[in-house]
């Protein structure tokens, strides 16, 4: 395909601008600076591949002088001439008017462009000053990379840049040594897995813990029971020791009781005492009458005897009363009082009688009888007194026994226990008990200590178990692990994506280098040989190398890093031209648009470049835009193909 001309309706500074009659070979489009060279190149590109979107950062070139935004290109293919019209804006499809009068749309256009799109067009068929001026900013490696990629995709980001970027990203995701995203995650996972293993084995001890706690509790109960038993034993021994004196007393009382004669049961002492009291009363009454009859001879106080008698009578009366009440000791006392009072009063009466001789003789006999009666009564009384004394002693002894028995019953508990206790009292010895008590107390103290330890141990185990029951460490840790694994999956996927992407670029590059590069390098070698006047014969990429090598005529092999910047620029241009030629040959030939590529070259280099361009133009259409008439001259002087000069395609600004 070649461009025959254009018709611009409105684009940047252009308005109603038309140019026709362009042909194959080299066309130099001469125009001063700012005259719109790049605008024109953008226009051609825009009509062919579409104008940049409004959102694009590319210049829009809105019409400054009116007219519809866009225009037409006059093209010619093997099938004949055609017109391609396009208006800017995304709703305007290209309009294709074919030679035979038919029309077409995107599909036909695609056919005409041979599948090329803007990207390739830019990389292969549009070549600007900027690329060469970039060289000054590149180091030897950068230039070498640029040269290498010039033979592959042309300008733009090279495959190697893409490879490096993907490799960097992949390495930050995962690398065999040093830190990486996946490495960190793996490390965290491994730590967590250790913690889980620990938590799991701890949890596995739970049943054991429950068993231990139960065992400990059983032991605690045993110790508590033992302590209780010892405490009871201690109390028992203390009581034994405590009650021993009373028990001893009781035993003695019983021994004494055994020695006391058994009281005769033929006559009740009360009857005897009654009888005695009656007798005494009789005697006393008789004595009273006697005393009234016979006054005493000597002069004891006259009222004494009657007073004594009165008292005796009272005592006798009391005696009767007490006897009736059954109070033997009191009756005995009263009997004694009555007897002795009567005796004394009788003695007084007798004295009175003696003094009263007259009556005395008469009553002597009666007195003697009375005296005999009284003596018998006194004897009786003495006997009674002994009986009563024995009874009293027995009573006291029996009371002692009873009191001790009561005490035992109180202190020793129920009957059975009391019996056992009494048996112990009876058979034991104080010394043994003392010894036993000391031993028991010691054991008790030890047992209590053990029991307290058991309480603490049981509580500790319980706390441990409860803590384990409360804790949900394991599921929480496992969830955390799950999260990490999930992240690891994501990270691994990202890494795989990166290495796959890198693999695609790398392998495509190898295949591309093996398949396409030799042809491109072949062409470049030829062009470069011409440009350098035959100094270099061949441009090759040696296997495994990431650099191009130049074979010099003298047999030297020179890497591109060793080239001067000028020579590198020439080589670059040759590579670019070779690439365009390669594309043209493989698909449909496209016009090559160049923008002032020679402007910065020194005269010698410029001449070489001009020769290379002329060489290329023999095979296809080249539109070279320049603002330097000198460039046009230079190209012209390089010879070869015809040169069309487009002297003033640019509107003059006024």
């Amino acid at each position: 395909m070649i461009i025959r001309g254009w018709s611009i309706e409105g684009y940047g500074i252009f308005h109603e601008e038309e140019c026709r009659g362009l042909g194959k070979g080299l066309t130099v489009v001469l125009g001063p600076n700012e005259s719109g060279k790049s605008t024109l190149i953008d226009f051609v590109r825009g009509v062919l591949f579409g104008f940049p979107d409004r959102r694009s950062r590319e210049p829009q070139h809105l019409p400054l002088h009116g007219g519809r935004h866009g225009g037409r290109l006059f093209l010619e293919t093997a099938d004949g001439p055609l017109v391609l019209a396009r208006e800017a804006g995304r709703f305007h499809p290209p309009e294709l008017t074919l030679a035979h009068g038919g029309s077409g749309d995107g599909a036909e256009l695609d056919e005409i462009l041979g599948g090329l799109d803007l990207a390739v067009f830019r990389n292969v068929f549009a070549f600007g000053l900027a690329e060469l001026s970039d060289f000054s900013g590149l180091g030897a490696n950068g230039i070498s990379q640029r040269l290498l990629s010039a033979g592959i995709t042309g300008a733009g980001r090279s495959a190697r840049d893409a490879l490096d970027s993907l490799a960097d990203q992949a390495a930050s995701q995962l690398r065999p040594r040093g830190r990486s995203v996946i490495g960190d995650t793996l490390q965290q996972l491994s730590l967590l897995e250790d913690r889980i293993a620990a938590a799991r084995s701890e949890l596995a001890t739970y049943p054991e813990l429950v068993r231990d706690e139960e065992d400990q509790r059983v032991e605690l109960e045993r110790l508590s029971r033992e302590a209780d038993r010892l405490r009871r034993e201690e109390k028992r021994l203390e009581r034994l020791l405590d009650l021993w004196p009373s028990w001893h007393q009781r035993r003695q009382a019983l021994q004494r009781l055994a020695l006391l004669p058994v009281p005769e049961e033929d006559e009740d002492p009360r009857q005897r005492l009654n009888r005695l009291a009656d007798r005494l009363e009789n005697e006393t009454v008789r004595d009273d009458t006697l005393c009234e009859d016979a006054a005493p001879a000597w002069n004891p106080p006259a009222g004494l005897a009657p007073l004594l008698l009165l008292l005796s009578a009272a005592a006798a009366a009391g005696l009767v009363w007490r006897l009736r009440a059954g109070d033997l000791p009191a009756a005995l006392l009263l009997a004694l009082g009555a007897v002795s009072g009567t005796l004394v009063s009788m003695w007084l009466a007798r004295r009175r009688f003696m003094t009263r001789r007259r009556e005395a003789e008469e009553r002597e006999r009666r007195d003697a009888a009375t005296m005999a009666n009284l003596a018998a009564a006194a004897r009786d009384l003495a006997g009674l007194r002994q009986t009563l004394a024995r009874a009293s002693e027995r009573q006291a002894l029996e009371q002692t026994v009873r009191q001790v028995d009561d005490l035992l019953a109180n202190r020793a508990g129920g009957d059975q226990r009391a019996a056992a206790f009494i048996k112990d009292l009876d058979s034991g010895s104080v010394d043994t008990w003392d010894e036993d008590l000391a031993g028991t107390r010691e054991t008790l103290a030890e047992t209590i200590q053990l029991r307290d330890q058991a309480i603490r141990a049981t509580e500790a185990l319980g706390r441990q178990r409860e803590a384990m029951e409360r804790s949900a460490d394991l599921p929480a840790l496992e969830t955390e692990t799950g999260a990490l694994r999930c992240r690891l999956d994501e990270q691994t996927e990202e890494w795989r994506l990166l290495v796959m992407a890198r693999g695609l670029v790398e392998q495509a590059l190898q295949e591309y280098t093996a398949g396409r590069q030799p042809a491109v390098l072949e062409r470049a070698s030829r062009l470069f040989g011409k440009v350098t006047g035959g100094r270099y014969e061949k441009v090759v990429q040696e296997p495994g190398s990431d650099d191009l090598t130049l074979l010099a005529r003298d047999g030297q092999r020179i890497g591109t890093r060793e080239l001067s910047r000028g020579t590198a620029e020439q080589l670059y241009l040759c590579l670019r031209l070779a690439l365009a030629e390669d594309f043209s040959e493989r698909g449909r030939p496209m016009p090559l648009l160049m923008d002032d590529v020679l402007v910065n070259a020194d005269p010698e280099r410029a001449a070489g470049l001009a020769a290379a361009i002329r060489e290329y133009a023999q095979g296809g259409q080249v539109l070279l835009f320049t603002c330097h008439p000198r460039t046009a001259d230079l190209l012209e002087s390089a010879g070869g193909t015809e040169i069309q000069r487009l002297a003033n395609p640019f509107p003059l600004e006024d």
Binding site: G115, A159, D161, S165, L189, E469, P475, A483, L497, L504
Partner: protein
């Protein structure tokens, strides 16, 4: 006599959650309690609907070591039911075969845990009348390969005949064949209702008498397909020896949701953010009252694809989404944002360009058409580099590998064409 019962399975009490890449403390707490809370709700539901009994069809615990919290919570629930006079019947499954240690010394009255070895029967009676006969058998080991369904048969006598079993009925490739059986084997037993467990996705393989029912798990556990959506138990209404209806009752506390958002018509990140928020609002009202764990997958082709390829951009978006979360009410946790968008590139046109990018695209096409070469291509480059990595990661299956290849092409072209 009319009565009802509740059928649940795969409780996986105190289960660890998997496949949730990132957690906030709040959602981690909610997840931690979710399975136990859902079980408490199951007990409450059983009491509330005045059910005659509760059936638990295996995998009550999540592992042979069984969670301690899980065991104690199960015991507590059984005590609550026992106090109300509601019987509980349970079998063990592959996740909790009999033989694991037990923290439960004594089950309360009315709880029947079927033993492994042979199918046993238990009766449910009310007012002297027999309501149902429940037959069941537990797993004695994790990999129960015997077809246990064959051991069941209908006993003579009145009452609804129920089979309680943890098994894999029919073929579901998503599950390992634990006690595999055919639906025909189950039907042959002549029971009225098969209360099954094992499949986490709720389904009724046979309906309308007899019934074969999988209630699904009680609480979802991850974002994998079988674990997403509403989870709960079945409330079964019975009359004599006929099941009248089976109703699903959601009981999950946290719900896992995968949501795909197409980017085809989205112009920029702001538009995407709006789309995500409105999607979240829809999901909130759809799953009212439940915490949501939401994984977004961006799909489709559109101008946003290239923007989304910027490293870190999805993380930034996630941060923004999580930040804009309102605090009250159930949580919505943006678990992840996965970019599966494709470039709008026309690959056929690209190949016609005949440049290097075209070569890359051709290579991609060749690999996509040759699974064997793709596999080698992958293994040569993406074999595990670090110890422990191979053990902890899964290799992609052929379909995943092809998807990976497509995305790798996009990634490569995004870089190669970056300047254009």
């Amino acid at each position: 006599m009319n009565f009802r019962f509740v059928h649940a399975a795969d409780l996986h009490l105190d289960t660890p959650f998997s496949g949730v890449a990132r957690l906030s403390p709040e959602i981690a707490q909610a997840l931690r309690e979710a399975s136990l809370d859902a079980f408490d709700d199951l007990v409450s539901l059983t009491i509330r609907v005045d059910a005659a009994f509760l059936l638990l069809a295996g995998d009550i615990y999540d592992g042979e070591e069984r969670g301690l919290r899980a065991q104690l919570r199960l015991l507590r629930g059984c005590r609550r039911l026992s106090k109300k006079g509601i019987q509980v019947f349970a079998v063990h499954g592959n996740h909790d075969p009999v033989g694991g240690w037990s923290a439960v010394g004594q089950w309360p009255p009315g709880v029947t845990i079927f033993e492994p070895g042979e199918v046993r029967q238990a009766l449910v009676e009310k007012d002297g009348q027999r309501l149902a006969v429940v037959q069941g058998i537990s797993y004695g080991r994790r990999h129960e390969t015997e077809n246990l369904a064959l051991r069941f048969s209908r006993p003579p006598g009145p009452g609804l005949q129920i089979g309680l079993l943890h098994c894999h009925a029919g073929s579901d490739p998503a599950h390992a064949p634990y006690s595999p059986c055919r639906v025909e084997d189950l039907l042959a037993a002549g029971l009225d209702y098969w209360a099954l467990g094992h499949l986490h996705r709720r389904r009724l393989p046979v309906e309308g008498g007899p019934w074969i029912a999988y209630p699904g798990n009680l609480q979802g556990r991850s974002l994998s397909p079988a674990e997403t959506g509403a989870k709960g138990a079945l409330v079964v209404e019975a009359s004599g020896t006929a099941v009248r209806s089976v109703r699903f009752e959601p009981l999950d506390r946290v719900r896992f949701v995968n949501q795909e958002i197409p980017i085809d018509h989205l112009e920029n990140l702001a538009g995407l953010s709006d789309a995500l928020h409105s999607s979240a609002d829809t999901l909130r009202s759809e799953h009212r009252g439940r915490h949501l764990v939401l994984r977004i997958t961006l799909i489709g082709r559109g101008p946003l694809h290239l923007r989304l390829g910027t490293p870190g951009i999805t993380d930034e978006l996630l941060d923004e989404l999580r930040h804009g979360q309102h605090r009250d009410g159930p949580l919505l946790w943006w678990e992840g944002l996965h970019d599966r968008t494709r470039s709008v590139r026309d690959l056929e046109a690209l190949e016609r360009r005949d440049d290097f990018s075209a070569s890359v695209t051709r290579l991609h096409r060749r690999l996509a058409g040759d699974p064997g070469e793709l596999q080698r291509f992958f293994q040569d480059r993406a074999s595990a580099l670090l110890p422990g990595m191979a053990r902890r990661t899964r290799l992609p299956d052929p379909a995943e590998l092809e998807d990976l290849l497509h995305r790798a092409l996009d990634r490569a072209l995004d870089l190669l064409e970056a300047d254009q």
